[in-house]
């Protein structure tokens, strides 16, 4: 099993905050890997919120190829973080040349593009780089998006964090998601490491997705270029999140209705029954069959947690106005926000989506039996 932790805070936090919470929950993960997603960045990136940031791991050769490729496109490096690591990695962590975090200035001709076109081009650039990297084995690209940094590595989370010196000020952020454990059901591959990211949407999941193959087939056949990869069965949760928002134009309240729809009789009793029935039918291939706990982040910095229909995975949300955290276990929450009203901690059950909006003032519980806000 893996462990998840996410925090959203008005005051920027060090990524170590999340790593420490992961460490407290270490009995629940096997320490085989770590993934970090940082957003609403502080430090130097605060000033360049619109600049797309490329996160990944490169060999020396890969970096040279990257530079040529990006320059050909017209991208200029605006800012970069150089992670200098000791010559010998700790046991269990592979030797890498470069952990890259680099903000770019858009090519001139991209500047006046409509947002959708810009997003499409950013996605295409990342996919192209990924493809190039896979061909030569010299680049691994996690994200290429404004105000987003992703770091992933194999090894014990705390060991990796110390090795990469993640406590540095440049990496402080207001939204942090962390997952401990490499995906071990399929091949060990950093592309299988949570959190996953696509066009502003990120998510990480605890648990096996038993309906993975039909869902993968369905997403792959949507004709959308970003729905590729699937080295992990959990990547589909991120893509479904993206699909629900961008293709269907629905909000986070509808996400759980897609992945874990109500039973037919409950739909019949719902105020939006006609809509939900239609959604359940048309999105039938996207129904997950658990056991899964999903924690995700939307482009507007909203964080959420949703459980599968059987609620077989742990998950809790708690905090105080200005700072809320989602964790697999209460001890993780305790480590991150000890000074909170614990009586208000909430463990989402099989109908709930717990949402903390960008204002970070409260946990909103959206129950599937509630009316949906989306009907025009």
């Amino acid at each position: 099993m893996c462990r998840l932790f996410a925090i959203t805070s008005q005051e920027p936090l060090s990524p170590m905050k999340a790593i420490e919470a992961m460490d407290v929950m270490r009995e629940g993960h096997d320490g085989s890997g770590v993934g970090l997603f940082l957003r609403d960045l502080a430090g130097p990136f605060e000033e360049i919120k619109d600049a797309p940031i490329l996160s990944g791991i490169f060999t020396e050769k890969g970096l040279r190829r990257l530079d040529t490729f990006m320059m050909d496109l017209g991208f200029m490096t605006k800012y970069k973080i150089t992670i200098k690591v000791p010559k010998t990695p700790p046991p269990g962590v592979p030797k890498r040349d470069i952990y890259l975090i680099r903000a770019y200035e858009y090519p001139e001709e991209w500047e006046d593009l409509p947002v959708n076109e810009l997003y499409t081009r950013l996605l295409r650039t990342r996919l192209r780089l990924r493809q190039m990297g896979e061909a030569e084995g010299d680049m691994i690209v996690f994200s290429f998006w404004p105000d987003v940094i992703m770091i992933k590595e194999i090894g014990d989370p705390m060991t990796v964090a110390r090795y990469l010196d993640l406590d540095r000020k440049e990496l402080w952020a207001r939204v942090i998601m962390a997952q401990g454990r490499q995906n071990t059901n399929y091949a060990i591959n950093l592309y299988a490491c949570h959190p996953f990211f696509i066009q502003g949407f990120a998510s990480m999941t605890n648990g096996e997705n038993t309906a993975f193959i039909p869902i993968r087939e369905y997403l792959s056949s949507r004709g959308f270029e970003g729905y590729i990869g699937y080295q992990s069965d959990s990547e589909v949760f991120t893509h479904i999140l993206h699909y629900v928002h961008t293709h269907l134009g629905l909000g986070i309240e509808a996400y759980k209705h897609v992945i874990t729809p109500l039973k037919d009789e409950d739909i019949a009793a719902h105020p939006d029954s006609a809509f939900l029935k239609q959604l359940k039918h048309s999105c039938r291939q996207l129904i997950i069959d658990g056991p899964n706990c999903v924690i995700g982040c939307l482009p507007d910095h909203t964080l959420f947690m949703a459980q599968d229909r059987k609620k077989l995975r742990p998950g809790v949300v708690g905090g105080r106005p200005g700072r809320f955290a989602f964790a697999s276990e209460i001890c993780g929450l305790d480590a991150a926000i000890p000074d909170r009203d614990k009586s208000k901690d909430f463990q989402p059950m099989y109908l709930d989506t717990a949402i903390v909006g960008p204002d970070r003032q409260e946990v909103k519980i959206c129950c599937q039996t509630d009316p949906l806000p989306l009907q025009p």
């Binding site: 648990g207 193959i213 056949s221 037919d264 039918h281 291939q285 056991p291 229909r309 059987k310």
Partner: protein, 544 residues
């Protein structure tokens, strides 16, 4: 026959027949029940003359010859009256004095069942007991990575959809713009396949309908039954139970006069309309209800004169191309019910199924595609069609599903698989395998006849006389003397038993795979088979 008489080519001995009657003179009470019950008159009361020679111990006295008689059972050897192995004689015998036994070598009867130039016709199924479906295993068992579910405790929702399901983006837009989307039914994934009123006896039909109504109304299982081509009794058409019925229209259009006339009086819409273009048991051949079974009632419902054979043409005569055939017919059927009822075609398994499927994907109304594989059953067909024509269902369904995946329409056009599901008794396992290969649901007929009514047909040419209306169990007969044997209530009870048991077994299959809230359609990673080539062909795992 005397040894010096000429023999005809078709003169056979008991040894040449497929089935031999073993009769025990000591046990026989000569009650005559066996000869009365035999559906093919294969046995008759016989008078046997016996010669007894007695030699005296007195050497002067000549040996004495006396003749005596005894009565017993004689098996006829004319191929027209050959025993079919139904064993009704055993069933009725008070002393277990009689039983048919299969010949220990290949019979010679098979070479003589085409006398008069008429090839053998029969009912039943392909006489081939084995099949690929029984070899498929479910191998993705949830172990420590994710807990297996408890089939008895967790909440399950094992339903499927029948109808054209628009893709999510279109569906929402379509509804907003038109206030209408194609009708979709939420049904149980095991459908009772098309067996017509006419092919089945009134008692069998009523029993099935009662069982289905009970499953729906008392147990909340949305089980559906297809009428087959032969119309529907007028009272059912005008009842609320019509919603559990899929009305079939086929190339003979039998019964549709009655249906059309009942339209204004229908209280409920039928579940769906199935347009039959082909049948797995006799692909490329039309329906056939032989004259034996066309009595007054059947004739009235079908709108034909009684006592004539009713062949449906192999194709719909008014159509000449797939485009027209599908589009026109689907559209007319939709219009008849105000676009509230899903309409889908059923074809027999064929290597051209993909062409049909691709055509349907371009038709915005087509509500699904049912494919009936070579192991499907029938009430009457030529033996050659049954035994040698057709396409196995497994690859047909898999190819179609993967084709839908390629074009992204796997949820739009539900595939229903039929033909040989449960032919070895493994109904749930076969159904689950087909669902994981890509079927949205399965249709079964033979299994229901065997389990719910005690049909004694087998995959080894036993009985198989559904075509001549002499079904010894009263399942496929229109003769009241025969069908009154079948207790309607008990049939209904057995239908319910079958579905409840199926439901438990299906849960026992999907729960360990970690599935419960949606039917695992296309979950091919759960399937394995011990045949490398089959695994490659079906794109599932090869396991040994």
């Amino acid at each position: 026959m005397l040894p010096d008489r000429p023999i005809a080519p078709s003169t056979l001995s008991v040894k040449d027949l497929s089935w031999q009657i073993l009769w025990n003179r000591d046990k026989c009470t000569l009650c005559g029940r066996c000869t009365a019950v035999c559906p093919v008159n294969a046995i008759e009361p016989g008078v046997f003359r016996k010669r007894n020679v007695t030699a005296s111990i007195d050497p002067a006295a000549p040996p004495e010859t006396r003749f005596s008689l005894f009565y017993g059972i004689r098996q006829r050897t004319d191929p027209a009256y050959a025993c079919v192995g139904c064993a009704m004689c055993s069933l009725v015998c008070p002393n277990d004095a009689i039983i048919p036994a299969r010949n220990d070598e290949a019979d010679k009867q098979r070479f003589h069942i085409n006398r008069g130039g008429q090839p053998r016709r029969r009912g039943g199924r392909r006489n081939q007991p084995a099949g690929i479906l029984d070899r498929i295993k479910f191998i993705r068992i949830s172990m420590l990575t994710d807990p297996a579910l408890d089939a008895g405790r967790h909440e399950f929702e094992l339903r499927t959809l029948l109808g054209r399901v628009l893709p999510p983006e279109q569906s929402l837009k379509f509804m907003k713009e038109n206030g209408w989307i194609p009708p979709v039914r939420e049904i149980y994934p095991l459908v009772i396949g098309g067996m017509s009123f006419g092919a089945l006896s009134p008692n069998m039909w009523e029993g099935l309908q009662m069982g289905v109504a009970y499953l729906n109304e008392e147990l909340g299982m949305p089980v559906r039954i297809c009428t087959g081509e032969g119309g529907c009794p007028p009272r059912l058409l005008r009842s609320r139970f019509l919603k559990y019925v899929i009305l079939q229209i086929a190339s003979g259009y039998f019964g549709w006069d009655e249906i059309i006339h009942a339209l204004p009086e229908m209280k409920e819409d039928p579940c769906a309309i199935e347009i039959k273009y082909g049948q797995g048991a006799k692909p490329g051949d039309g329906g056939l209800l032989m004259w034996h079974k066309v009595n007054k009632l059947i004739a009235a419902i079908r709108g034909v004169p009684p006592g004539v054979s009713l062949p449906s043409p192999p194709t719909h005569q008014t159509k000449y191309s797939i485009e027209e055939s599908v589009a026109k017919m689907i559209q007319s059927m939709y219009m008849a019910w105000g676009f509230r009822v899903p309409v889908y075609p059923k074809i027999s398994g064929t290597s051209t199924a993909l062409a049909v499927l691709n055509n349907l994907t371009r038709n915005p109304y087509a509500a699904g595609l049912a494919i009936d594989g070579e192991d499907g059953g029938t009430g009457a067909a030529y033996n050659v069609s049954m035994d040698h024509m057709g396409h196995p269902i497994a690859t047909n369904i898999r190819d179609c599903y993967l084709n839908l995946v390629t074009i992204g329409k796997q949820n739009e056009l539900p595939l229903f698989a039929g033909g040989g599901i449960g032919k070895q008794g493994n109904l749930a396992a076969n159904a689950a395998a087909l669902i994981m290969l890509g079927a949205s649901g399965v249709q079964t007929g033979k299994y229901i006849m065997q389990a719910a009514a005690g049909c004694i047909g087998s995959e080894s040419d036993r009985c198989n006389i559904c075509n001549i209306g002499r079904c010894p169990k009263g399942i496929t007969s229109q003769d009241p003397r025969l069908y009154r044997r079948l207790d309607i209530e008990k049939v209904a009870e057995r239908v319910v038993d079958v579905f409840l048991a199926f439901d438990t077994e299906l849960k026992k299959i999907v729960a360990p795979l970690g599935r419960s809230t949606s039917l695992p359609i296309g979950m091919s990673d759960a399937l394995g088979i011990d045949d490398y080539h089959a695994a490659e062909r079906l794109k599932i795992k090869y396991v040994i």
